[in-house]
């Protein structure tokens, strides 16, 4: 058990290094010479060369990479070209709305999608099953921002039940927080829900045809007990796997959802950084999101042992 956890953690190190290398290359090949920009218009080539040396830009690629990585490990992601603020500082300012949005989306998606998938498998072949599956296909055929606009149009503009845009911190009360965040969370969650509901249904169908499920039914375990205790626990491994993989869609979707609903989070920071070509910020955000994604999937791997004690790699 412990050795499995240790091995999984060690195995993520090369992946993290690989991601860091990609993200660093991004800045490395980005157009524009920082030394020339700092030196200004009046500088001679010798001046530019001197500045380049003083910034360490004349060193080999790998030396610069490990130097940069060392700073990243110490929480230094560089300075924004546009605002001159440290990138970590800018991220810290914007992280709350994004974390709130993703947490709410995660809670909503899991609490709706898993029962949907279970019921679809249980009522296999009926109209309920077909309705759930159709919703799922529609769910991942519609881009997040389209769903966002449709929801905002119906519930905010037409029915006037919820605010159209904006974000309220949870510190200002749970209700205003939820009123602002519920539409973005549903819009963002629909793709994720579709993924999870589909895989839940497929795995449950598999599991429900197993002998031990029949045994459980035969010895008088109730329908709910069979579905949620015997079957769902054994269907858990593929479900948590897709929850981990689908997290990428959640991250990508958050970038867009925040633009649609004017939420001042990391997604908006990313979009603004792209429009301004603020490479250190782009780099920082991509690195952070990728790191979170790797961590989530590490968490998923560790959860396997909880659901299926047979797993020993």
């Amino acid at each position: 058990m412990l050795s499995y956890i240790a091995r999984r953690i060690v195995a993520t190190i090369p992946v993290v290094l690989m991601v860091a290398l990609f993200v660093f290359s991004l800045l490395y090949i980005a157009p524009g010479d920082p030394a020339a920009i700092i030196a200004g218009d009046q500088a001679t080539p010798a001046d530019v060369e001197r500045i380049r040396a003083s910034l360490g830009l004349d060193r080999p690629f790998l030396v610069r990479f490990f130097d940069w990585f060392w700073h990243v490990l110490h929480g230094d992601l560089g300075t924004s070209i546009f605002t001159n603020l440290p990138v970590t500082h800018m991220i810290a300012q914007r992280i709350e709305p994004t974390v709130s949005l993703m947490t709410l989306t995660l809670i909503l998606s899991l609490s709706l999608a898993i029962p949907m998938g279970v019921i679809a498998a249980w009522k296999h072949g009926t109209w309920i099953d077909r309705a759930v599956m159709m919703t799922a296909v529609l769910g991942f055929s519609t881009p997040v921002f389209v769903i966002g606009y449709v929801l905002a149009y119906i519930f905010a503009l037409r029915l006037d039940w919820l605010p159209v845009q904006g974000f309220t911190s949870i510190s200002e009360g749970l209700l205003p927080f939820l009123r602002n965040l519920i539409l973005p969370a549903v819009a963002l969650g629909l793709v994720y829900m579709a993924l999870i509901a589909r895989i839940t249904r497929a795995t449950m169908l598999d599991v429900l045809s197993q002998d031990y499920v029949r045994t459980a039914k035969a010895k008088g375990v109730g329908q709910r007990g069979v579905l949620f205790l015997h079957a769902l626990k054994n269907a858990a491994v593929p479900i948590v796997t897709i929850v981990g993989i689908g997290f990428a869609a959640l991250i990508g979707g958050a970038v867009v959802t925040e633009s649609v609903f004017a939420i001042p989070g990391l997604g908006r920071l990313t979009v603004d950084a792209i429009l301004r070509r603020d490479y250190p910020v782009i780099q920082g955000v991509v690195l952070l999101f990728s790191f979170v994604y790797v961590l989530v999937n590490l968490g998923v791997d560790l959860l396997y042992t909880l659901f299926d004690p047979r797993i020993r790699y």
Partner: protein, 300 residues
């Protein structure tokens, strides 16, 4: 009742064990067996038709500005209304199908070719397998949209660069799929026999391995096509994709954003077209997967 039965009871009819198979023509039979392929294929075909014949479908110049008649509601004259620069939304949406389809198909093609190539090498050459797959793991750890965004930030906005960026974000999944297939095929007796009889590796790959990767590859390519269309629209929507001068569905929506609370139709028409196209491609992929893998067909 019993008296009447008696009269004919000498030779009772054989019970119908199997229902008589319904006579269906070849096409009707295909539609009955694979309704999703049919519906998806029909809709994709319709979109391709629209993309090719956009100039002949009652469209005007999609980039022609006419400030005097801006933001007109949909009417007989302007079926989908006009945008804030007076451009005809109907024409823009129809021409926009060209960008989406081109990006979708090109990415599916490029990512499949590149992914297959790398997957074949990784699956066949043990020495570099670990290194190549770690690189793929690294690429796959960056959420695809973010990777595409980051790549687009490096280059000039153009349709070609959008295709390259999305292909790079998508191909690692293909390479992993192909590698998996290759690894399981290598152990097959007929491949071992081919190796033992001294067949050259390229011939083995071309004749024995590649044909067997085609089915899962085709299914994967359809899903990549669908996801590439969404990614293109997303990139354009946030201003990092197709250049604004080209009417693409993402661009029309991005431009309609500022006005969407008062003139929602500018955003909704391209949104409907995009969703239907992606849905069609996804249905096609679902249908292909079911048709090519009958074991899964019963479940999904």
């Amino acid at each position: 009742m019993s008296a009447t039965t008696h009269r004919y009871a000498a030779a009772p009819d054989l019970p119908a064990i199997l229902p008589v198979p319904k006579e269906r023509g070849r096409i009707a039979g295909f539609i009955y067996r694979h309704p999703t392929i049919f519906v998806g294929g029909l809709l994709v075909g319709l979109m391709i038709f629209i993309a090719i014949f956009a100039p002949y479908l009652g469209t005007k110049d999609p980039t022609a500005l006419a400030p005097a008649r801006r933001t007109r509601e949909p009417s007989e004259l302007y079926w989908f209304g006009t945008d804030m620069l007076g451009r005809d939304v109907y024409s823009r949406v129809l021409y926009g199908s060209r960008v989406s389809l081109m990006v979708g198909f090109s990415v599916a093609f490029c990512a499949s070719i590149l992914g297959t190539f790398i997957g074949l090498i990784a699956g066949f050459v043990r020495q570099i397998d670990a290194v190549v797959m770690r690189v793929m793991d690294g690429l796959m750890s960056i959420p695809p949209i973010l990777l595409a965004i980051a790549l687009m930030a490096l280059t000039r906005a153009s349709v070609q660069n959008v295709i390259i960026a999305i292909s790079i974000a998508e191909f690692p999944r293909v390479s992993r799929l192909v590698r998996g297939v290759v690894l399981s095929l290598r152990e097959q007796p007929y491949v071992e026999a081919a190796i033992a009889s001294g067949t050259k590796v390229p011939v083995i790959i071309w004749k024995h391995i590649l044909p067997n990767t085609l089915a899962p590859l085709m299914v994967q390519a359809t899903f990549i096509c669908a996801s590439a269309m969404i990614t293109e629209a997303t990139l354009s929507f946030i201003g990092a994709g197709t250049p604004p001068i080209i009417p693409s569905w993402g661009n029309i929506m991005a431009e309609g954003r500022a006005l969407w609370q008062v003139k929602p139709y500018i955003v909704f028409f391209p949104a409907i077209f995009l969703s239907i196209t992606v849905l069609a491609v996804n249905l096609l992929g679902d249908g292909l997967r079911d048709a090519l893998d009958p074991r899964l067909a019963k479940r999904l």
